[in-house]
């Protein structure tokens, strides 16, 4: 389509030569509020027409798939220290699939809204609806991906986004004889799944990995009621104590690697 060609990236500043096509731009997902989501598609270097389409979502909520997924996890490029150039990621997932990065919801990264109050009342449900709208409209711009095997992937709070979007697609497809969004499955990593069990399992990890004392472990279990979605001040205080006085200066996202100074 014409818009597809307008979205084609000829080359990014400081990028090494590559054998795959890439596209990026905006898809409006809500005209009334002026919400538009930013995407970046990195096609597979070999046989892109035969490879599946995989949507990648980072979590937060509020974090960017361009910042994390594309630039330090599964994307084809890594950014150098000075932010002046890019180098290739040997294990880029676009070796085996067409990878679509989406900054979601509006307010994340380059995705924007013309209604500033949107930034103060985002939530799971509108995020999933906007993401479904994005896919439907994006497929019109990239009709070659209609009916293609489609998977969703993500990590962290996208443990919400990914299944919730999959659920919206599943319901949307129900009434269609040949759905254009040919959802086959999803894969999530270190995914926020169930508030109660995640929290119990997290505190167990802290204790079993010798990050907190027995005393703190017992205090947390005695003071925190993980079945409710609001924790008491006593619970918050004990968890704060654990993080600020027992963890030490570690990278909680990777407990054995050095922290970024």
């Amino acid at each position: 389509t014409k818009q597809q060609e307008l979205d084609r990236i000829t080359a990014l500043p400081g990028q090494p030569p590559v054998g795959f096509s890439q596209f990026s731009g905006y898809v409006t997902v809500n005209e009334d509020h002026g919400r538009a989501l930013f995407y970046w598609l990195t096609q597979s270097a070999t046989n892109p027409d035969k490879k599946p389409l995989v949507l990648w979502l980072n979590g937060g909520p509020g974090c960017s798939s361009v910042a994390y997924g594309a630039s330090e996890e599964i994307g084809p490029f890594r950014i150098n220290k000075t932010g002046s150039s890019l180098y290739l990621n040997k294990y880029s997932w676009n070796k085996v699939a067409n990878i679509l990065f989406l900054e979601s919801p509006a307010g994340v990264g380059f995705s924007y809204t013309n209604t500033s109050s949107d930034l103060k009342d985002s939530g799971d449900n509108r995020t999933a609806n906007d993401a479904l709208n994005f896919l439907i409209r994006w497929m019109s711009r990239f009709p070659q991906y209609k009916y293609r095997d489609f998977y969703i992937s993500g990590e962290s709070y996208a443990g919400h986004y990914v299944p919730q979007l999959a659920n919206k697609i599943f319901d949307y497809n129900k009434g269609l004889s040949q759905p254009i969004i040919n959802l086959k499955g999803f894969i999530v990593g270190n995914a926020v799944t169930d508030s109660k069990y995640d929290n119990i399992g997290t505190v167990a990890f802290w204790w079993s990995h010798a990050m907190i004392s027995d005393k703190t472990y017992k205090n947390i279990l005695n003071s925190c009621n993980f079945t409710s979605d609001k924790f008491s001040k006593k619970c918050d205080d004990i968890v704060d104590y654990a993080m600020n006085h027992e963890f030490g200066d570690i990278d909680q996202y990777s407990i054995y690697t050095p922290t970024c100074k």
Partner: protein, 148 residues
């Protein structure tokens, strides 16, 4: 510190032009995470397990993995949550391999595959790119993770 590199790169006007980004003059800098959004997040489902049950019944391919050095959403959190789906084991727990080393452990249930990635933090592909790539390839192929 890789996040800092992205903050530099994606705020360059020439990069935004090449990406067709920020075409409307967004009134704030590009940043990796929006403080405003996370502080004001409204509806958040308490549990996603009912959605898993529905989509597993619909026959979707569902894989869940955990980098085992993450303490924010750690492997024990995910295992504890998944255990409450009470899934039937199809393939017993086994170590999967990558480059002659144990890449992690996995167990295949009816409707869901769980895998750990050994030595990876929250962003698994950042810390263990090769193991993450093998995990992704196996997922796309619908095959169990390699036993050697």
């Amino acid at each position: 510190c890789t996040e800092n590199y992205a903050e530099k790169y994606y705020n360059r006007p020439d990069v935004q032009k090449a990406l067709h980004a920020n075409t409307t003059g967004i009134p704030y800098k590009w940043t990796a995470c929006s403080e405003v959004l996370i502080k004001n997040w409204k509806d958040s489902e308490f549990s996603i397990l009912p959605t898993y049950r529905k989509l597993m019944a619909a026959g979707l391919r569902i894989w869940v993995f955990s980098g085992d050095t993450d303490s924010v959403v750690p492997v024990t959190a995910t295992r504890f949550s998944l255990s409450h789906l009470n899934l039937k084991i199809k393939t017993q727990w086994y170590p999967w391999y990558s480059g002659g080393q144990v890449g992690g452990w996995t167990e295949v249930y009816d409707g869901l595959t769980f895998a750990t990635v050994r030595g990876a933090g929250h962003e698994v592909p950042l810390f263990q790119p090769r193991r993450a790539f093998i995990l992704f390839q196996s997922f796309l192929a619908g095959k169990e993770l390699p036993r050697s």
